[in-house]
Amino acid sequence: MALSHERIQQKLAEKFGQENLQWEEQFGLLSVTAPKEMNLKILQFLFDDEEMAFRFLTDICAVHYPENNGAELAVVYHLHNLVENVRLRLKVFAPVEKPDVFTATNIFPGANWMERETYDFFGVNFVGHPNLRRILNVDEMDYFPLRKEFPLEDQTRIDKDDEMFGRGGSFN
């Protein structure tokens, strides 16, 4: 029997309570939003359950929404059930003052570098990660560059004039 979106919604609501979960479906991909404390429980359930069997972690990334006070950083997990060929997106939100999210490396060893990249770009602190250091940027960098408040260009360069490059600040 193919795994349908209604079945996924039903099982997750039974196990975790409908009040905790918000559902969305965009372009054929079902997306569930859950509180950040439950992310490991949900991932473990989706992994272990024989019917759900979301045993392939496609990707982990984060998005910064500066306007959502208290839930600025969204950590997005893309999961894939290879047998039934069904994908699922799990989102958890964390406040930017205390962006602690439990690490998924115990369930998926492949989450290791994905979480390091998310930490490097957004500052999401994955609790329990074996080696949470910067991976792509220089180790001495003291800010998290992909957050919206930081600019793209290096502010210390002196040879390029922003005005000449059309970056006077009006076109963003």
Binding site: D59, N85, P109, G110, R134, L136
Partner: protein, 411 residues
């Protein structure tokens, strides 16, 4: 993956000649690393005890850069992800944008895209396999096969004008119809390449030295490969037949008949063989696509893009004569087209695996967030597991047979 962050000079067991392991630094500039990434190896003699990777030596901040650019300006950035097969990345990005915008491309465009994508796949696998040959000491294969890569580059040049970082195609199709020269060069390729591939395989496949170098080293089992989120030829060499072209077909791949080659042990030899077989399958697909394209006659044969005036630049003669075309031209060039709000994840089977594009738009003119799911980055994590217990020279061959492209690793 190593549990501690930076531990060098690990103690060796009692009775060993040395008391602690030798630490060697491989990279970031090294003839063996094809791209810039660093491996710090802990060796017990020549046997590898542990490795630790440092990446990011070519981090160019693509994801932040994409937040600044309208959709069609993101294409040149996607070129630089896996630069050995830029058309694949370009097509994947265009399909992601089309998914978000709800654009349906005509069949002829799909078939032309398939031709270009499979040519790019062949060109990437050629580099990977010939470099595996170079790393085991066989330079001839590389020189011989590069000539046919030049022919593939010439086909790209006929369509888009450039060889390597192609920026080929547009949202909705292609920038120009494939002219007769492009089809002639494609026919020449289809005629001559099978002989070349056969000679390349004769040189390596049953070559005793090559087999003894590559078999048994860098092996990974299917369960561990899935746990590390491997995709692409590396996963298929381990035995799992997951291919995005079959799982979630895009660009009319369901109209084509092709096989998915699968290996057994996931070692270097299997990866090499899987890539060779994939090149044969790509040739099959290109032949089928070429015949399908030839079947379009008359007015249908002139179709090379979908009808999306908001994202596809109108023809210059229309811009000079018609008002709507002028307005669309102005709006597109000045970047004043608003992207509809939405969140889409689209993935394609790139040469290294599942290349995913996670695009979030909040209704502005540029993406709110664009994340690339890069296969190289994800499977390079498994490198310590692949090399532990093996010899140093096997580690070099493993690194090149994994097809690590630094641009895709770091983005």
């Amino acid at each position: 993956m190593s549990e501690q962050s930076v531990v060098h000079h690990l103690p060796l067991p009692e009775g060993s000649i040395q008391k602690q392991t030798t630490t060697i630094n491989l990279g970031p500039t090294h003839p063996a690393t094809h791209g810039v990434f660093q491996n710090v190896l802990e060796l017990d003699g020549e046997v590898i005890v542990n490795t630790e990777q440092t990446v990011g030596y070519i981090h160019r901040a693509f994801e932040k850069l994409a937040e600044r650019r309208p959709l069609y300006q993101v294409t040149p950035i996607t070129d630089r992800l896996n630069y050995c097969s830029s058309p694949l990345n370009n097509m994947g990005w265009h399909m992601t944008a089309e998914k978000l915008l709800g654009i349906q491309t005509p069949k002829r465009v799909d078939y032309l895209r398939v031709i270009i994508m499979e040519l790019a796949r062949i060109s990437d696998h050629l580099i990977c396999n010939s470099i595996v040959g170079v790393d085991t000491g066989a330079f001839t294969g590389f020189l011989y096969v590069m000539q046919y890569r030049e022919l593939i580059y010439e086909i790209y040049e006929e369509v888009c004008g450039s060889r390597l970082t192609t920026n080929i195609g547009r949202i909705g199709g292609f920038e120009r119809n494939f002219n007769d020269t492009a089809f002639q060069k494609l026919e020449k390729f289809l005629k001559e390449y099978p002989g070349v591939q056969q000679e390349f395989e004769n040189l390596f496949n049953r070559n005793r030295i090559f087999m003894e170098r590559t078999q048994g080293s860098g092996a990974i089992s299917a369960e561990r490969a899935l746990a590390y989120s491997f995709t692409g030829p590396n996963l298929r060499a381990a035995g799992v037949d997951y291919d995005v072209r079959v799982a979630k077909p895009y660009s009319s791949y369901e109209d084509f008949e092709f096989d998915i080659p699968v290996g057994t042990t996931g070692d270097n030899y299997d990866r090499f063989m899987v890539r060779n077989q994939e090149m044969w399958q790509s040739m099959r697909i290109i032949e089928q696509a070429y015949r399908k394209v030839q079947d379009f006659k008359g007015a249908e044969a002139e179709v090379f893009h979908a009808d999306v005036p908001e994202y596809y630049l109108p023809e210059k003669k229309d811009v000079y004569t018609k008002m709507e075309a002028l307005i669309w031209h102005f709006k597109i060039i000045m970047g004043e087209i608003d992207i509809p709000k939405g969140e889409v994840y689209h993935s394609i089977e790139a040469a290294n695996g599942e290349l995913g594009f996670y695009l979030i738009s909040d209704g502005g003119r540029t993406p709110y967030r664009l994340h690339f799911r890069r296969p190289c980055f994800i499977y390079y994590q498994a490198y310590p597991e692949l090399t532990r217990g093996g010899m140093l020279s096997d580690a070099i061959v493993t690194m090149s047979s994994l097809n690590l492209i630094a641009g895709e690793l770091d983005a």
